[in-house]
């Protein structure tokens, strides 16, 4: 692999993230401060924090931050906040009701971000299985919801979703 590709990786041990007074994220690397537009995970579903792309205001990649676990605690917090923003995916804890009318499935759920009702069309396509027990559901508007481990849901909820997983 070529050298120029190599330079793109940021070593977490020599990197930190902070917010400036107006709340913007600033990347400190190589002794230089750079304004950060967004932080996006390369593997948002499988390894959300392992390799994240730090971008400037124009969406151009500044670098890829590796092994974010080794960041200092403050940077880690900023990173988590940014990741939660760039990839918002509430976790479903309980399912109250599932209704299907004319190929639209309406879910009434409890998530870790509060109660929510959403519609899913085309279940085959929009309920995606990741691994054995995890599911990611995309609703008609493009919102994402996650079921971490469907076997951990209450028995009634498990019964409700059986036909849709």
């Amino acid at each position: 692999m070529t050298q120029e590709a190599e330079e793109n990786f940021l070593n977490a041990a020599q990197t930190s993230l902070r917010r400036d007074e107006s709340g913007n994220v600033v990347l400190v690397a190589d002794g230089r401060d750079r304004r950060v537009g967004s932080i996006v995970s390369a593997f948002p579903l499988t390894h959300p924090k392992r390799l994240v792309s730090v971008r400037d205001d124009d969406g151009k990649e500044i670098g890829i931050l590796e092994e974010s676990d080794t960041l200092d605690p403050d940077s880690k917090r900023v990173l988590q906040e940014e990741l939660d923003r760039s990839y918002f995916m509430p976790r479903i804890g309980d399912i109250r009701k599932i209704d299907e009318t004319l190929n639209v499935v309406e879910w009434e759920v409890h998530t870790n971000k509060g109660p929510r009702v959403f519609q899913v069309r085309n279940v085959n396509q929009n309920v995606r299985r990741i691994g054995q027990r995890r599911f990611v559901i995309k609703d008609v508007d493009g919102n994402r919801y996650e079921i971490r481990d469907w076997t951990n849901l209450k028995p009634q909820a498990q019964k409700l979703i059986q036909g849709y997983l």
Partner: protein, 767 residues
């Protein structure tokens, strides 16, 4: 006599005369000469010593066997229709062999001849090598000459792994049949012993007839004791019946479970065996077979076979047992009445025979019409753009409606046939029942008046037993009649499956195959010729020596043999002649898996599997880390667009996932190749069908990929090959020019011409 003391080696009759009428000319191949005879007249007589070589010239619908003589003359020996071309091809081979004509000579002549005759069309019919029965596909099983029994035996042998289940299922079936037949016997007991009205007994009835009515009325019909014993017997019968019903329920439950499990196990096994075979088979198999047909083997045929093994065989056993059981019971109780009851059977069998033959034709027509209908729908839908752009909607609707009506008519014919068959069989079967009513009824009456005595007495219970069994008799007979068709279908399905499994792997490893150690990447193509399935030669005596790390550009028109050459380097096929070597080892001596692990390919149609982008990039190296995947994607200029997808590298692609453009797919497949880090790289039209900006990006990625690897690149756009160390121009399977870009431009040959044309186009577009 004709041979004149010469040894006759072969005699073949043609089916076409020189004048072009059908008729027979006879070719007699002797050790010293070849004769052609028509009606006892010798048309040709050529001494072997005069012959240089023999060739078949193919034309449309017919062909000619031609001899080249030593003095340069040509002799047309015999003319034949396409049906015979294989036979005369063999004759030509034999002649050439006995003359010891060298292969080079033959090839040279054949190429010359192929320019004269019409290009060979694809062979549309194949014939069974045993019986000559025409087959639709080369891989088809000849239905005429394979033994159905053998196939069935092989099919049954698949069950050997589950013989316990099969035996249990069979035993259950037998017991169930017995349980199902028992209630009929109970009916007789019930009527004759428990419920028999007083007076139905012979003597009492006779007394009645003699005239003592007042007597009967004055005393009770049955005394207390008799009543009680009969009541008890009734309870016993009810109990037995209940037990039978319960037994049937439980046994039935287990039978369905066991047979279902057996069937599923069988079909899963069969499917997995089949799939394994498919993965192992050489690419040449996939050139011959349509995807749809292969799919049908794996999905439909295995289902059919499962249905047969589980249901048809079981049903057949139960039906046969039932029919035999009922007939045995009826005949043992009263053979006279049994004969009456079953007399319509021969007629029913005949009618069923007649109709099943008619049905086959009718239903085949229905299927065909339906297939035409569905084909027309799928065709117009995929061509909707064209339909609309030419405003031909009305015409398409009319066309569809015509086919729709065809389909309707075929169905109506089928319905009409069925509407005659069912009622007719019903009528004839009712005749049996009617006869039992009439004759049996009279016998019951006569028995009660004492007209019938001893063995010939027929009780009411026995009559009811007959009527009960007759109701149960015809259904199994009918099912057995239908079974032949099911049998036929599943035997064919099974044969097709076995046929796939038996397909030899053409490109495989042998005992001496070696693993590759470090590969420097020198590829030598030595005297290589190649023809697909014994057709025309695609490559003719190619010699190329590619140094480690060298980049070769293959240039040439469509059909010039570029892709075929590359396929030989990957060893998707083995050359017909000559050899391909990697680091001085013949590819045929290298384990295919080991060889392919060193070769990376980027093809014109980048194929992505259903799955995430990460999985698709890592397809070439499943153990790759996330970091390696990202680095490969960066090198392929794919990283940025991947990161702009909502799910990044976890985005799903393929039918269920995000839609990627051709250029994006292309870059993912480049990343895949980069990740594999192969010693040899094949680029097959990798930058075609993308816009210029994308091409620049792909080109940039490609340059990085090519560095340090032996590369063979095919491109229509010659600009893509600007980095090639050497360009090789192919035309009709031969190398006509080679050298660097500058050298070839200086030569002002084919390559220079192509370059100028493309440059003109390019400036035209820029202008």
């Amino acid at each position: 006599m004709l041979a004149g003391g010469d040894r006759i080696e072969a005699i073949v009759d043609s089916d076409l005369l020189f004048v072009g009428r059908y008729g027979h000319n006879r070719l007699v191949l002797c050790a010293q000469k070849i004769l052609v005879v028509e009606d006892g007249v010798i048309l040709r007589n050529v001494r072997m010593s005069d012959i240089a070589s023999a060739h078949c010239k193919d034309f449309v619908g017919n062909g000619v066997l031609e001899l080249r003589l030593n003095d340069g003359r040509r002799v047309e020996l015999i003319r034949y229709s396409k049906t015979m071309s294989e036979k005369f091809g063999e004759i030509a081979d034999r002649v050439n062999k006995s003359l010891a004509v060298s292969e080079e000579e033959l090839e040279a002549r054949e190429d010359e001849i192929s320019k004269v005759s019409r290009p060979k069309e694809d062979k549309s019919t194949y014939r069974c090598p045993n019986c000559g029965h025409p087959l639709a596909n080369a891989s088809d099983v000849c239905p005429k000459c394979t033994s159905k029994r053998q196939v069935m035996m092989r099919l049954m042998s698949l069950m050997s792994g589950h013989w316990r289940l099969a035996v249990v299922g069979l035993v259950l079936s037998i017991v169930l049949t017995a349980v199902n037949l028992a209630p009929g016997l109970l009916v007789r007991e019930l009527v004759d012993k428990a419920l028999r009205p007083m007076g139905a007994n012979g003597q009492e009835a006779a007394a009645l007839a003699a005239g003592a009515p007042q007597d009967v009325q004055s005393r009770p019909l049955m005394d207390q004791q008799e009543f009680r014993s009969r009541q008890q017997y009734l309870y016993v019968l009810v109990g037995i019946f209940m037990a039978l019903v319960l037994a049937r329920t439980v046994l039935g439950h287990f039978r369905i479970r066991i047979m279902g499990a057996l069937g599923e196990k069988l079909v899963v096994e069969l499917r997995s065996k089949l799939y394994r075979t498919l993965q192992r088979l050489s690419l040449s198999y996939y050139d011959r077979e349509h995807t749809g047909r292969i799919m049908a083997r794996v999905l439909t045929d295995t289902r059919v076979v499962q249905g047969f093994v589980v249901q048809a065989v079981q049903q057949m056993i139960i039906d046969i047992l039932t029919v035999i059981g009922i007939a045995a019971i009826l005949f043992s109780i009263n053979w006279r009445l049994a004969a009456v009851a079953l007399f319509p059977i021969p007629a029913v069998v005949l009618i069923m025979r007649y109709f099943s033959r008619r049905f086959q034709g009718v239903f085949r027509a229905v299927r065909r019409k339906y297939a035409t209908l569905s084909a027309s729908v799928s065709e117009t839908i995929s061509g909707m753009r064209v339909v609309k752009s030419f405003a031909q909607e009305e015409r398409e609707i009319d066309g569809f409606n015509a086919k729709n009506v065809d389909c309707y008519n075929a169905h109506i014919t089928a319905v009409q046939a069925r509407s005659k068959f069912g009622p007719m069989v019903g009528l004839i079967m009712s005749l049996g029942v009617l006869a039992v009513w009439l004759i049996g009824g009279r016998q019951v009456l006569e028995s009660s008046t004492g007209a019938l005595t001893g063995e010939r007495i027929l009780t009411l219970g026995t009559l009811l037993l007959f009527l009960t069994y007759m109701n149960n008799f015809y259904a199994p007979v009918q099912q057995l009649m239908n079974l032949t068709e099911v049998f036929q279908q599943s035997a064919t399905a099974a044969e097709r499956i076995f046929n796939v499994m038996d397909t030899p792997v053409e490109v495989g490893d042998h005992d001496g195959s070696t693993e590759l150690a470090d590969v420097s990447g020198r590829v030598e193509i030595q005297n290589v010729s190649f023809a697909y399935n014994h057709g025309e030669r695609i490559l003719k005596n190619i010699n190329i020596d590619i140094q480690p790390g060298e980049m070769i550009g293959l240039v040439g028109q469509t059909g010039s043999g570029k892709s075929t050459l590359v396929s030989l380097v990957c060893r998707f096929y083995d050359p017909t002649k000559g050899r391909v070597c990697l680091d001085n080892t013949d590819l045929t001596d290298i384990k295919t898996k080991s060889l392919r692990s060193r070769i990376g390919m980027v093809l014109q149609d980048s194929f992505l599997f259903a799955g995430t982008i990460r999985e698709n990039i890592a397809y070439s190296r499943p153990g790759a880390t996330e970091r390696e995947i990202i680095r490969a994607a960066q090198a392929a200029n794919a990283h940025d667009f991947i990161m702009n997808l909502p799910d990044g590298y976890d985005s799903e692609v393929g039918e269920r996932g995000v839609m990627l453009s051709g250029g994006e797919k292309q870059r993912i497949s480049i990343a895949r190749a980069i990740l594999k880090d192969p010693a040899i790289l094949i680029l097959d039209e990798a930058t075609s069908a993308v816009d210029t900006a994308t091409e620049a990006m792909i080109q940039d990625a490609m340059d990085r990929l090519v560095r340090g690897r032996t590369t063979i690149a095919i491109a229509h756009r010659l600009s893509t090959l600007r980095n090639a160390d050497r360009l090789i121009v192919l035309d009709q399977g031969e190398i006509i020019e080679q050298g660097t870009h500058d050298e070839l431009m200086q030569r002002d040959g084919v390559y220079a011409k192509l370059c100028k044309i493309q440059a003109k186009f390019a400036t035209a577009i820029v202008d």
